[in-house]
C-alpha cells in the first residue's frame, strides 16, 4: 500500500466576481465561512450536509428508542405515560426512516454518484441544494410538534381512521403530514436529479454495464423514489384535507373505506423498504470486492437482481395487510409475490459470499460491517419469508416478532451498510482515516447490542407481546425465568450496548478530526473512479474527465494481467495516475455557481405549512416567498457568465494552465 509522499497541489476554489444582478440579489461568491455552505450547489458539500443532518436525526431517533426501551425495561414502566409513549414510537420510526436512513443514503448518492461516473457535478446543482434544504426544514418542521402541543401519535404508518381529528386532536399529525410532504419533495427532486445525472452525464466510455455497482443500486432507488413518493403524497394530502378542510376520505360514518389509506400507504411503503436497504446493498457491493481483492462475483447478476427487486417491490405491498380481511385470492397472490422477492435478494447474498470465497480477505472495519450486513440481513430476510406464509403472518401481525424482523433488515441491513460506507469512504471525504481499533470496538458493540436488543423480540413476539404496548404488568409477564419481563430487560440492556457502540463512532470522528495524519491517496487499493482523484476531491472533481474502458476502471489503470501467469501485475500507482491527470488538466473549468434561491425557496414551504395549521395569513406570506424565489431562480443562469470567471488571476483555468506547462 503506497503512502502519499508529496502533497498534491490543491487548486484554489473558484472565486467569482458577480458582474451581473439577476432578480434582486447578487450572486453569493464566498468560498469560505458559513456562506460557502448555505449557498453552495456543490454536490460534495451537499452530500456532507445531508450526512451531518442524518447523523443528528439518528441521535434524536436513538434517544427516542432508548426512552422506549427504558419504559419497557421492567413491569409497570413509569418513564413515559401512555400518550407520550405513543408519540415516542411514532417519532422514533418517522425519524429513523425519513430523517436518518433516507438522507444518509441521499448524502452518499450525492457525494459519490458524480465521482463514480466521472462527472463534475449533478445535472441540476441548484435543485440538489433545494432538496437538502427541504429535507432539513421538513425534519425540523416535524419535530417542532414536540414543542407545539405534542407530536404525532398514530404509529409511523398512521392508519386511518385512527389518524382522524377525533382520535388525535393535537396538531401532531398535521405537523407529521406536512413535514413529510416537504421531505417528500426533497426526495422527488433528488430522484429526478440523480436519474438525469446517471443517464446523461457518465464519463465517455462508461456504458450502463460498466457503471460502479453503488451507482447502479442508487439509480434503482431513485426510480423507486420517483414512483413511490407521489403515492404517499396523495395519501398525505387526503389526510391533511380531512384534518384541516373537512374532507371525508377516511370518515367511516360517510361510508369511507379506511383500507384506502392502508393501500396507498403500503404501495409507497413497500418500495420504501427497498429505498432504505438498496443503498446499503450498493455500499456492501463496493466494499466486499475491495477487501477481498477480487472483482464482484457476477456483477450483471447483482445489477439485475437489484433491478428485479425494484420491479417486484411494487407487487408485494398487501403482505402488510394480511390481517385486514383482503380475501383469499389477494392473500394468495401477495403471499406468492412475497416469496418471489426473496429470490433476487438471495441472489445478492450468494454473490457477496462468492465474492469473498477464495479472496485475500482484509478485515478492515468497513469489511467487518459489510460481513455483518450479510449475516444479520439474512436473519431478517428469513423471518421476512415467514411473513409470506399468510396463516403464520396473521398470528404475528402487530406483535414484537414484526418489530424484530424489520429491525434486523433495517438495522442489520440498512444501518450496518451505512457504517460500512462511512468507514470505507471517510478518507475520500475528509482525507483522514477513521481509527481502526476504535472501529473494531464500534463494530462489535453495535453487532452484539443489536442482537441483544432485537433477537429477544422474536421470542417476545411469538409469546404474544403486542407491538406498541406501553406497559406490561407482573401478571402479564408470565411465569418462570424466561418470561416477558426477562426478555424485555435483555432487549433494554442491548439497546444501551448499541448506544455505546454508536457513541464510539462519534468519539472516533472527533479523534480522527484531531489527528493530523493524512490518509494515503488510495488507502484501500480501491477499484472505482471516485478514488482516481485527490482526498478530498477538488471542487471540480477531476482535472481531466476520464475515459472509461473497463468496469472497475481505476483498478485496471493500476493493474494489468500478466498473460503468461494470469496474475495481476501492478503497472501504476494511484499517485502516478493522479500526477498524469494533473499534467493533462482541462483548462477553464466553469463550475455551477452558488445561489441564494434554493435555501430561500425551501424556507418558504414550512412557512406555508405552518400557516395551514395556525393561520392562513402566514401561509400567504410563505407562498409569496416561494413565488419570488422561483422567479429569482428562473432568471438566474445556473453557471455565471464567463466574464465572472475572468477577473481573478488565480482562477483555476490559469492555475491549471501553468500545471500543464510545467
Amino acid at each position: 500500500m503506497a503512502i502519499m509522499e508529496r502533497e498534491i497541489e490543491v487548486i484554489t476554489p473558484i472565486t467569482a466576481t458577480p458582474s451581473s444582478t439577476y432578480g434582486v440579489l447578487k450572486r453569493p461568491v464566498a468560498a469560505t465561512g458559513w456562506r460557502a455552505w448555505v449557498f453552495t450547489v456543490d454536490h460534495k458539500k451537499l452530500g456532507l450536509m445531508y450526512g451531518v443532518t442524518a447523523m443528528f436525526f439518528f441521535i434524536v431517533g436513538g434517544v427516542e428508542a432508548l426512552l422506549i426501551r427504558l419504559q419497557l425495561a421492567a413491569p409497570n414502566g413509569k418513564v413515559l405515560n401512555a400518550d407520550l409513549y405513543n408519540q415516542m414510537f411514532t417519532m422514533h420510526a418517522t425519524t429513523m426512516v425519513f430523517l436518518f436512513v433516507m438522507p444518509m443514503a441521499a448524502g452518499f448518492a450525492n457525494y459519490f454518484i458524480p465521482l463514480q461516473i466521472g462527472a463534475r457535478d449533478v445535472a441540476f446543482p441548484r435543485m440538489n441544494a433545494l432538496g437538502f434544504w427541504l429535507l432539513l426544514f421538513g425534519g425540523i418542521f416535524i419535530n417542532l410538534s414536540w414543542f407545539l402541543g405534542g407530536a404525532a401519535d398514530g404509529g409511523w404508518f398512521m392508519y386511518a381512521p385512527n389518524s382522524g381529528p377525533v382520535f388525535s386532536p393535537t396538531h401532531g399529525i398535521d405537523f407529521w403530514a406536512f413535514g413529510l410532504q416537504i421531505a417528500g419533495i426533497a426526495s422527488l427532486t433528488g430522484a429526478i436529479n440523480l436519474i438525469v445525472t446517471v443517464l446523461n452525464m457518465r464519463a465517455p466510455g462508461m456504458t450502463l454495464m460498466k457503471m460502479p455497482i453503488f451507482t447502479w443500486m442508487m439509480t434503482v432507488v431513485q426510480f423507486l423514489l420517483l414512483f413511490a413518493v407521489p403515492v404517499i403524497t396523495v395519501a398525505l394530502f387526503l389526510l391533511s384535507f380531512q384534518r384541516n378542510f373537512g374532507a371525508r376520505f377516511f370518515d367511516v360514518a360517510a361510508g369511507a373505506d379506511p383500507l384506502l389509506w392502508q393501500h396507498l400507504f403500503w404501495i409507497f411503503g413497500h418500495p420504501e423498504v427497498y429505498i432504505l436497504v438498496l443503498p446499503s446493498f450498493g455500499i456492501v457491493s463496493e466494499v466486499l470486492p475491495v477487501f477481498s481483492r477480487k472483482p464482484l462475483f457476477g456483477y450483471p447478476f447483482v445489477v439485475f437482481s437489484g433491478a428485479a427487486i425494484g420491479f417486484v417491490g411494487w407487487g408485494v405491498w398487501a403482505h402488510h395487510m394480511f390481517a385486514s380481511g383482503l380475501g383469499p385470492v389477494s392473500v394468495a397472490v401477495f403471499s406468492l409475490t412475497t416469496m418471489a422477492i426473496a429470490v433476487p435478494t438471495g441472489v445478492k447474498i450468494i454473490n457477496w459470499t462468492l465474492t469473498m470465497w477464495g479472496g485475500k480477505l482484509v478485515f478492515s472495519t468497513a469489511m467487518k460491517f459489510s460481513i455483518g450486513l450479510i449475516v444479520l440481513f439474512t436473519v431478517g430476510g428469513l423471518s421476512g419469508v415467514t411473513h409470506s406464509v399468510a396463516p403464520s403472518d396473521t398470528q404475528q401481525t402487530d406483535t414484537y416478532y414484526i418489530v424484530a424482523h424489520f429491525h434486523y433488515v433495517l438495522f442489520g441491513g440498512g444501518v450496518l451498510g451505512i457504517f460500512s460506507g462511512l468507514y470505507y469512504w471517510w478518507p475520500k471525504m475528509f482525507g483522514k482515516m477513521l481509527n481502526e481499533r476504535l472501529g473494531n470496538w464500534n463494530f462489535w458493540l453495535m453487532v452484539i447490542g443489536m442482537n441483544l436488543t432485537f433477537g429477544p423480540m422474536h421470542i417476545l413476539g411469538l409469546q404474544g407481546q403486542p407491538r406498541r404496548m406501553y406497559q406490561f404488568t407482573n401478571a402479564r409477564s408470565g411465569e418462570g425465568l424466561f418470561n416477558f419481563a426477562f426478555w424485555n430487560l435483555v432487549a433494554s440492556i442491548g439497546s444501551f450496548v448499541l448506544a455505546v457502540g454508536i457513541l464510539l463512532f462519534l468519539i472516533n470522528v472527533v479523534i480522527t478530526a484531531r489527528n493530523p495524519t493524512k490518509s494515503p491517496l488510495d488507502p484501500w487499493n480501491a477499484r472505482s473512479l471516485e478514488w482516481m482523484t485527490s482526498n478530498p476531491p477538488k471542487e471540480h472533481n477531476f482535472d481531466v474527465i476520464p475515459t472509461v474502458h473497463h468496469l472497475d476502471e481505476f483498478f485496471h489503470r493500476k493493474y494489468e494481467e500478466d498473460s503468461a501467469t494470469h496474475t495481476m501485475r501492478q503497472i501504476a500507482t494511484a499517485e502516478e495516475i493522479m500526477a498524469e491527470q494533473e499534467r493533462n488538466a482541462d483548462a477553464h473549468i466553469h463550475m455551477p455557481s452558488p445561489s441564494y434561491w434554493p435555501v430561500v425557496l425551501a424556507f418558504g414551504l414550512p412557512v406555508i405549512t405552518f400557516g395551514m395549521i395556525f393561520s392562513h395569513l402566514i401561509a400567504v406570506f410563505g407562498a409569496i416567498i416561494v413565488f419570488f424565489a422561483a422567479f429569482g431562480w428562473a432568471l438566474e443562469p445556473s453557471t455565471a457568465p464567463a466574464s465572472d470567471f475572468e477577473t481573478n488571476n488565480s482562477a483555476p483555468g490559469k492555475a491549471l494552465e501553468s500545471v500543464g506547462k510545467s
Binding site: Y22, A119, R120, D121, A123, F124, P125, L188, A191, I192, N193, I195, V196, L199, N200, M201, R202, P204, L226, F227, A228, V229, P230, V231, T233, V234, A235, F237, L238, F241, Q242, F245, G246, A247, R248, F249, D251, A254, G255, A256, D257, L260, L264, H540, I545, D586, A587, H588, I589, H590, M591, P592, F631, A634, L635, E636, P637, S638, T639, A642
Partner: protein, 196 residues
C-alpha cells in the same frame, strides 16, 4: 482553448438534461394522478344524501371546456415549432394563446365548481364531493401552474433574459402542458362520461 463547463460534454442519451428531467418528473406525476383517480373511482358512488354525479354534471358544458383545453395543446405545438425556427414574435403569440385557452378552461372549472356548490355539493358533503373536488382541483392547479409558466416565459422572452436554450425551455414547458392535457382526457372520461 475551449471552455469546459460542468455540463460541457454531450449527454449520454442525446436528450438534454432539462428535457430528460421533465420526462422523469412527468413519470412521477402519473403516479400522483393515479392515486387521486383511484380514490375518486373508489368513492364516486358514495353520496350520503348529497347530489349524485348524474344530477349535477353538465356534460355539454364540460365537453366544450375540455375541447378548449385540447386545442391549447395544438397552439402549444405551434409555439414549440416557432421557437425551434427562432421566430420570436410567433413564439410569444402562440404561448399567449395557449395560456389564454388554459385560462378559459380554468375559468370554466371555477364556474362549474360554483354551480355544483350551489346545487348542494360541498367539499365535506360526501365522499363523492371530497374526492371529486380533490381530483379536479389538483388538475386545475396543474393547469394554473402551467399558465403561470407560459406567461412568465413570454415576459422573460420580452426582456430577453432567458437562461439557457430558448427552444429547449419552450419544449420542456410544452411537455408539461401536453401531459396535463392528456391527464384531463382520462379524468373527463372516467369522471364525466362513465356513468356510476
Amino acid at each position: 482553448m475551449t471552455d469546459i463547463t460542468a455540463h460541457g460534454h454531450a449527454s449520454s442519451t442525446g436528450i438534454s438534461n432539462v428535457k430528460l428531467g421533465m420526462w422523469t418528473f412527468l413519470g412521477s406525476e402519473c403516479l400522483l394522478f393515479g392515486g387521486l383517480i383511484s380514490t375518486y373511482m373508489l368513492y364516486r358512488g358514495r353520496v350520503t344524501g348529497g347530489p349524485r354525479p348524474s344530477q349535477i354534471f353538465d356534460i355539454p358544458f364540460t365537453s366544450v371546456s375540455s375541447f378548449v383545453l385540447l386545442m391549447s395543446s395544438l397552439t402549444m405545438v405551434l409555439a414549440v415549432s416557432a421557437a425551434h425556427k427562432s421566430e420570436d414574435r410567433k413564439t410569444n403569440l402562440w404561448l399567449t394563446v395557449t395560456a389564454l385557452l388554459g385560462a378559459t378552461f380554468v375559468g370554466g372549472q371555477v364556474y362549474e365548481f360554483t354551480a355544483f356548490y350551489n346545487e348542494g355539493l360541498g367539499f365535506s358533503t360526501s365522499l363523492f364531493g371530497s374526492s371529486f373536488y380533490t381530483l379536479t382541483g389538483f388538475h386545475g392547479v396543474h393547469v394554473t401552474v402551467g399558465i403561470i409558466m407560459l406567461m412568465s416565459l413570454v415576459g422573460i422572452f420580452k426582456r430577453s433574459k432567458v437562461s439557457g436554450n430558448k427552444a429547449e425551455v419552450v419544449e420542456m414547458i410544452g411537455l408539461y402542458w401536453h401531459f396535463v392535457d392528456i391527464v384531463w382526457i382520462i379524468i373527463f372520461t372516467l369522471v364525466y362520461l362513465i356513468p356510476v
